[in-house]
């Protein structure tokens, strides 16, 4: 990561206005969104959006021509171009030919994308943004930090200062007064402007209609008062028919601002009369700017299903800490990272793609059904293919791909860590490593890894065998979790087999974009894990489970590896996470809880992969309750703890405040134990609580359940 980028993160994190405003917003947003969707089948709505927009982008060329024909039949002039420079030239030529002195704009991300205002300024034409947030940003000489609320990063004091400096001295930081002031100052501009510029939220091919959605009413003025109207529309806004508006209009206000509908929706189809009775000079620019390249890309095509609601920003645990400006000048957040890589260039996403913590929070709430973290991972992979892996990463992955070397280094670390070890923790690391232990302790490498320990466990021979995939953390840091799992499965009459040749699941490599390394890890593990004829392959690490169940297949598919797909599928079919397996065994009557236990209050942390990929949220809770615990749910129980594999090493400055929030939510429940299914989360949360000197115990569900069965 560049120093400049790291600096921008540092600046954002130290801006209390920003983090305070965004933190409060992200909390309020969840509630207002949920309320707005009451009585609405969100899954059905987004299925329709994905279908409508997915179909439309497969037919861009046809729909664009149909739109053009229909809009022109109704008096519009439609200009199609793939080049942002052409868009600017067209508008400036028009402005000059029509003797345009001043321009008013309603909000248009497409115009931000091509930096249109700058072009006007250079041509000496006065241009004023009229959306309040955009106007503030324009006066402050900034760029929008959020697609829906461009000035969300500013306080009323900052706004008052900008108004006082740029428009009229003496403005007080009083929101209603500031709004009134904006109305008063912008009204004469609306009335005087010769040209109005808008974007469009939807463009309907069968009628040549534009749908424009606002709350302030500025788009109604922009399309009514000036004699010329120019609409800049990205071709991904096209839909085939009028009926396709419905799902988008159902989701957009609800997801964007928690409204059932915005104050104003205008549907413009062709020319309308001006106030002097003359017909409006209407120009619609259908802009491509790499969108049709995206259509041709089988992975990234789905990103065009975006309706620009910014939900992925609002629910992102990283966005709420750093805000939009670290992402760049136009599109921000998760979807912004993807759009920047395409509309700008892949290289522009090099730093910002690293901000995605891969927690998946945005996936279930995206109205366009876009797998944003999946696409960001694909960007990461392509960057590695294009630019190669750094030398340090190469060295690390070289080791990870050689199991014997990797494991002997971990064993060696168990010895060399001694000067830093305090009990089971490493509390301080020297020099450049200190970032890793500033905000949480690290687990000491266990003196005896699970692969050695398991040999000493006397298991009764059983006909039914289950293969245990430990993963690096349980194997080398938390072998007791593995021991607990063996004990529980033994009670169900199952013998646990631990294939020695199992190695790293490849998640670290894959999440760094090093798919070739991940593929080799996959091959080694498939071979090791399928050797035994077992009912299940179980893992007590959700990230490893996801690797075995989904990622091996996807890595092979992405790399075009076909010879190992069959085996990968067999492994996938057999793989199950710990809690889901134990719940099954309980349901089948093969495990029985000790009766009459009152074990007290605990709280449960949902790990990202378990909740959002494996969808196991009820299983661990049910088991813990049946064991005799009462669960006091923490606030944001399913929000990432900030660990995310190597993320906490690459961006400790972001990982730390995410963890801090999690610890507060845990403490607020008053429970003296927090339980989770992921050893990575155990590492992060246990390390954080140790640093805090908190007495709250952190346990893996397997350990918590170890002695709870008859």
């Amino acid at each position: 990561m560049t120093t400049e980028f790291k600096d921008s993160i540092e600046t954002a994190l130290h801006n209390p206005n920003l983090t305070g405003a965004l933190g409060r917003f992200s909390e309020a947003y969840r509630i207002s969104r949920a309320k707005a969707y009451e009585g609405i089948d969100f899954e059905a709505v987004r299925d329709r959006i994905a279908e409508v927009k997915g179909n439309a982008c497969s037919r861009f060329e046809e729909l664009a021509e149909q739109f053009k024909a229909n809009a022109e039949r109704r008096g519009a002039k439609v200009f199609r171009t793939s080049d942002p420079a052409e868009v600017k030239r067209y508008i400036l030529d028009l402005a000059k030919a029509q003797n345009v002195q001043s321009v008013v704009k309603s909000k248009s991300m497409a115009s931000e994308e091509i930096h249109l205002n700058k072009a006007f300024e250079q041509a000496g034409i006065q241009v004023d943004e009229t959306d309040l947030g955009e106007w503030i940003i324009q006066l402050a000489h900034q760029t929008p930090s959020h697609m829906v609320m461009p000035a969300i990063h500013m306080t009323k004091e900052e706004v008052a200062e900008v108004f006082s400096q740029e428009v009229e001295a003496g403005q007080a930081p009083d929101i209603p007064k500031l709004v009134k002031f904006a109305r008063g100052k912008l009204r004469p501009k609306f009335l005087a402007a010769d040209m109005g510029i808008t974007g469009a939220n939807i463009a309907v091919a069968e009628t040549g209609s534009l749908v424009i959605i606002t709350n302030e009413g500025n788009a109604r003025l922009v399309t009514t008062l000036p004699r010329i109207h120019v609409a800049i529309v990205g071709i991904e806004k096209l839909v085939a028919q009028v009926a396709d508006i419905d799902p988008i209009l159902t989701a957009l206000p609800r997801s964007a601002t928690g409204q059932l509908l915005t104050s104003y929706v205008s549907m413009l189809s062709g020319q309308v009369p001006n106030t002097d009775g003359s017909p409006k000079d209407l120009h619609i620019i259908l802009m491509d700017n790499h969108r049709s390249d995206m259509v041709k890309d089988p992975k990234f095509k789905e990103a065009l299903q975006c309706i620009r609601c910014a939900t992925c920003l609002n629910v992102c645990p990283v966005f709420r800490l750093v805000g939009g400006h670290v992402f760049g000048k136009t599109y921000t957040g998760g979807i912004g990272t993807i759009l920047t890589a395409w509309f700008d260039e892949l290289k522009k996403s090099e730093d910002i793609q690293g901000l995605c913590i891969q927690c998946g929070s945005c996936v279930p709430v995206c109205p366009g059904k876009i797998d944003i973290p999946g696409l960001i991972l694909e960007l990461r992979r392509r960057l590695v293919v294009e630019q190669g892996q750094s030398l340090a990463m190469k060295a690390i992955f070289g080791v990870v791909n050689n199991r014997r070397l990797f494991h002997s280094m971990l064993r060696m670390a168990a010895v060399t860590q001694k000067p830093f070890k305090q009990g089971r923790f490493i509390r301080h690391l020297p020099l450049f490593l200190s970032d890793m232990t500033d905000f949480r302790s690290l687990p000491a490498i266990a003196p005896e890894p699970f692969r050695d320990k398991v040999k000493a466990i006397a298991q009764p021979k059983q006909a039914e065998k289950v293969v245990f995939y430990a993963g690096c953390l349980i194997d080398f840091a938390y072998p007791e979790t593995g021991t607990a799992l063996v004990k529980i499965l033994n009670k169900a009459g199952i013998e646990v087999v631990f294939p020695e040749d199992q190695t790293c699941c490849g998640a670290p490599a894959r999440y760094s974009g090093a798919y070739e390394v991940a593929a080799q890890n996959a091959r080694d593990n498939i071979k090791a894990l399928l050797e035994t004829d077992a009912t299940y392959v179980v893992s007590a690490c959700p990230t490893c489970t996801v690797a075995l169940k989904h990622d091996f297949l996807d890595t092979f598919k992405t790399l075009g590896i076909t010879d190992a797909m069959g085996e990968a599928q067999r492994l996938s079919d057999r793989t199950i996470d710990f809690s889901s397996l134990v719940k099954k065994l309980v349901d089948e009557g093969r495990l029985t809880f000790k009766e009459g236990q009152h074990l007290g209050k605990i709280t449960y942390h949902d790990s990202c992969h378990l909740k959002r990929t494996l969808k196991a949220t009820d299983e661990p809770r049910e088991l813990l309750q049946k064991a005799g615990h009462e669960i006091a749910e923490m606030y944001e129980c399913d929000t990432c703890c900030g660990m995310a594999g190597s993320y906490s090493l690459k961006l400790p400055e972001i990982s730390a405040p995410i963890l801090e929030r999690k610890l507060k939510n845990i403490k607020d429940t008053g429970a003296d134990k927090v339980v989770m299914d992921c050893p990575g989360c155990v590492m992060q949360i246990r390390g954080g609580l140790d640093k805090d000197g908190s007495p709250i115990q952190v346990e893996h569900t397997a350990e918590r359940l170890e002695d709870r069965f008859e």
Partner: protein, 187 residues
């Protein structure tokens, strides 16, 4: 009908629109005249009202209104609308599910009176309230109408610190007068 109206009223009130229902046009008109007087509509500069005539006034006549409330003008221009206190127009449909008013706003006068003055007073026939967006869209034909306006409450923003503030560029008050005497209140 009553339930549809009530659903509309609840949703519209939730977004700060003020909804009033009357049995006849005369009752509705009496309310409007009283309201205009109350907010100080007069012939003084900047105190006028602009009204786009519709079937609501059929058989009553605009002259009658002007005589009752001086300052009400039926000649809707850009200049008159820009300095008027109240804009009045007749809406075509409403959506109960969201509290939305819908209008064929191709005629520029209809847009002027509902965008420029700080108060927009909308007249609507009770039977024009339909259940949802699609029911309205089926009756309004975008292939024939060049400007369809959907209005849900007054103009609003939350662009500064996400604090909801009513009345940015459009009206800060939206008054909806719903009249049951439908045959004369159809667009």
């Amino acid at each position: 009908m009553t339930t549809t109206f009530e659903a509309f009223q609840t949703r519209a009130a939730a977004v700060s629109a003020e909804v009033h229902r009357f049995a006849t046009r005369h009752e509705g008109l009496a309310f409007i005249e009283g309201f205009l007087r109350e907010v100080g509509v007069s012939e003084a500069p900047g105190s006028g009202a602009v009204w786009v005539e519709g079937s609501f006034l059929e058989g009553i006549g605009s002259a009658h209104v002007s005589s009752q409330v001086p300052g009400v003008s039926f000649e809707v221009t850009r200049e008159a609308s820009a300095c008027a206190k109240v804009g009045i127009s007749q809406l075509d449909w409403a959506i109960a599910a969201t509290g939305t008013l819908v209008q064929d706003a191709t005629a520029v006068e209809k847009r002027l009176v509902s965008t420029l003055p700080p108060i927009h007073l909308a007249v609507l026939g009770t039977e024009r309230i339909l259940a949802d967006f699609n029911s309205v869209l089926q009756r309004l034909q975008p292939e024939q109408i060049n400007y369809i306006a959907f209005i849900t409450g007054p103009s609003r923003t939350a662009d500064i610190e996400r604090v909801l503030t009513i009345g940015v560029h459009g009206p800060e008050r939206l008054i909806v007068v719903v009249v049951d005497e439908f045959e004369k209140v159809t667009a």
